[in-house]
Symmetry: C3
Subunit: 359 residues, 3 copies
């Protein structure tokens, strides 16, 4: 396990677009305190949340046009972080500035690059188009704060056998653990594919498929390093060709996860469940959301959160205790390798991935 | 003072027998997280409370027969800690196991050995027969969690002059501070003996003796390293031979303490007050218990707990501030020496006890 | 920035006189736990708040005449810290003592010297005569606990331009930021002087001056190292000679601050606002106090406390992030230099102040 737990040179979801208005909002991303706001022209600015002068969080100040005014001595900073006003003096120290962070707003999320701004390449944005509200429908906007290393969520989502145990009584299903799966990868992605053919559909899918009989069920979980996941899940009547590519008789959706380290041991979890069926049924949208997270803490993600946070406590109390791996961890292990490689790249100690060693 | 505060190679009370049923119970002993449960055959198992795979506390899972099922991915471990089921795979890694701890159930308590299992010699069990419900009667079952180094309780019980100050108004008595005492020791025990001859009996003893006149009162506190104490206390009418060994005209009981480090600065305190008089009087049993610990926090042990926890706070804030000793500490000092010797033995740096140095 | 944040060889306000009665009171000063009490003759004693024997805070015991009795084993210590009674033994270890700290009671405050007692020179007492209830009137007795480095309060009071931002809507005033100021210093003091001539008086001063027209307004902030501040503030009708020294037509008061480190990141703030006008108006006294600190947290000092404590959190989270300075910080910088010099003096590494280097 690498000592560092996350790369800095990456795009991370920092907020839902609708969270950021023409007002100051504080959020910690990868250990860095940021203040976020939308300019009058609608662009999102992300600045270091500590005044250059005496470190008061800028989020405790206010906006004056597109400038942030520090609430302690009135210094002003523009959306690039440059100081534009120093109280009681006419000459402004030209080096006076707070760090500004590259921002891209895409797919209904605000993404920031907490690392070296010079390397902030838009081409490195993860694909999250399922979330953009066009082809797929989901409420979105659901933010979840967890007191655990973000990688524990990656592990969790890359291995759905946990559903049988953590979600026993709802989506847990013996078919998941009994069915083998494939793992593939590229230099930025890892994908776990599981086809459960000719099985009884679980209740949620049976109801939404609306057809009797056995189904082919799939779970295709795609990870994009360092921490974006799209889980393509669905069912189709057995024999209608879904495994071969014809999903026209089936129903499916995607669970979406943009996970962002807050600190080494806490994270922001921007999640959504989107679907292509019954897209006008807002009650269904709300019901799906409530099944994931709800005030009673009985949602699927609430169950995961409990487990992940308890896991983190053991890690904190036993920092040298190793993780051992099972066959079911193959997907998570590839995800971890890709993360570790990004971290190594930043340290300029690029280690070859397994299988890539030159002979 | 030794850097380590407790030996690991020792039997420690981990729970009252009645606490451990056919269900998972978490408890931290000497810094180690344990899960305890009783098998269907009635044996007590004690396992490391972190799954071999991903460290989730096993106590968050459930029992399947005598096996513990991890609540995250369903791995199963038997009562010896051996993994007997790995989800979605037929071959089990033969090294997959969690640590299992030696257990002895005796004298109505479950004792575990948190150190090297190979050295877990039943002959090293402390004698705690006063607690077994035969000769002596007491409710037992009373567990007390304290935020202090367990040795502070040892100090407290080995020097009862504190009663005059901490318990002023109840059992505190000037006779205790005014009467000299003897300390004897073996390589595993230290004993403080105080005889207060021809004194007015304190109220509790006067009432339970039920005879007029002066008494001989005794306090014989026996410590067994590392942390078991039996305090033999009682009174007999003066001149009836108690100091010489004939207690037939008197009444007496024992305060029992099995103290177990939870961490360096917290402990479990399994206590009981047992007696040989009025053994059928359940109201008296309840009254004695309530006089020691009660919800109002006014019991004798509540008063001690307050002092000990405040003492611990000062130690935490002033890690190098020394303890200085008075004559009254002679018993506690012997107990500390025996503890330190056990710790040294574990480090294979056996230092001779004072008086044992070869010339 | 020096590693140590405060000198120990200095007089620090530990309590208001009226707080210390013939009873035990605990307070931490410069990281040292003290127990304070007034003897029967009315002198204030300040002792280390941990028994020589087993470290129980002496403040948990009780007074027996002028001696402190430890609540654990009854050891007694006199007002000089000397042990005068050891339980159950006739001979007292002559070295048994707790540290006693030099105390001076002056200007309605109890001052202690937490450093080397041999250097506790009364001549080094800060001048705080404005607080003594003779020439100036103020309620006093107001104690404020802040979770911040005491020097952040010094910074705050030495630069009143913050009023324009932190206290916008009450005393904040653009005149303050627009008017230049002078800084002077001695080897123990730094003084910031600002004259705002011919301005509209702010509401508080206008009302208490009771005369129409423009005023000359002054703010003369005097710092005495390490942490005592008197801010002489007032107004007089323009042209009546106040800048030249004739304040007879004006009104003025002083904000007084005796700030004492509790730890590196928390402090005690003994403050008062005293005045020479309307000295019989107790409603005005109460109103002024309430305008500074009130239960709703809307007072001027409540606003400062919020800012200073947020600033401290950023410092804690970013220990190496520097402070940069503006022109407005000239007074605070001198105060910091004087503090740093006191700290250096204690380390016997006296660095020359800027401008004092020998050529």
């Amino acid at each position: 396990m690498a000592d560092k737990t996350f790369p800095l040179n990456a795009w991370y979801a920092a907020a839902w677009s609708h969270e950021i208005e023409h007002a100051l909002a504080a959020r910690k991303i990868c250990g860095k305190d940021l203040v976020l706001y939308r300019t009058e022209a609608g662009e999102v600015a992300a600045l270091e949340n500590a005044c250059w002068h005496r470190l008061l969080p800028l989020s405790l100040g206010w906006l004056k046009g597109d400038n942030v005014v520090c609430g302690y001595h009135g210094l002003e900073f523009n959306a690039n972080g440059r100081c534009t006003h120093m109280t009681a003096q006419k000459t402004i120290n030209p080096s006076a500035a707070v760090q500004s962070y590259p921002v891209i707003e895409r797919h209904r999320l605000v993404w920031v690059w907490p690392g070296d701004p010079a390397q902030a390449d838009p081409a490195k944005m993860p694909d999250f188009h399922w979330n953009d509200g066009t082809e797929y429908v989901g409420e979105g906007g659901t933010y979840y704060s967890l007191q655990c290393d973000y990688r524990l969520i990656v592990d969790n989502l890359m291995d759905l056998t946990h559903e049988t145990y953590v979600h026993a009584g709802s989506i847990g299903d013996e078919n998941i653990t009994e069915t083998p799966f494939d793992v593939t990868h590229t230099d930025r992605t890892a994908t776990v594919t599981r086809w459960m053919k000719g099985i009884e559909p679980p209740p949620f899918w049976k109801k939404n498929l609306g057809k009797p009989g056995l189904v082919d069920r799939w779970q295709i979980i795609n990870f994009q390093a360092p921490s974006t996941i799209c889980g393509d899940v669905g069912v189709a009547p057995v024999g209608t060709g879904a495994p071969e590519g014809d999903r026209s008789q089936g129903v499916h959706g995607c669970f979406l996860a943009a996970i962002t380290p807050e600190t080494e041991t806490s994270c922001h979890y921007f999640w959504n469940f989107v679907r292509t069926f019954k897209t006008d049924d807002e009650d269904l949208t709300r019901a799906i959301n409530k099944a994931h997270v709800n005030p009673e803490g009985t949602g699927l993600y609430d169950q995961d959160a409990f487990v992940l946070q308890e896991q983190q406590k053991v890690i904190d109390n036993n920092p040298r205790m190793p993780f051992y791996n099972l066959n079911i961890d193959a997907g998570a292990l590839w995800a971890r390798r890709l993360i570790d490689r990004m971290i190594s790249d930043e340290s300029a100690n690029l280690a070859p991935l397994p299988g890539e060693a030159a002979e």
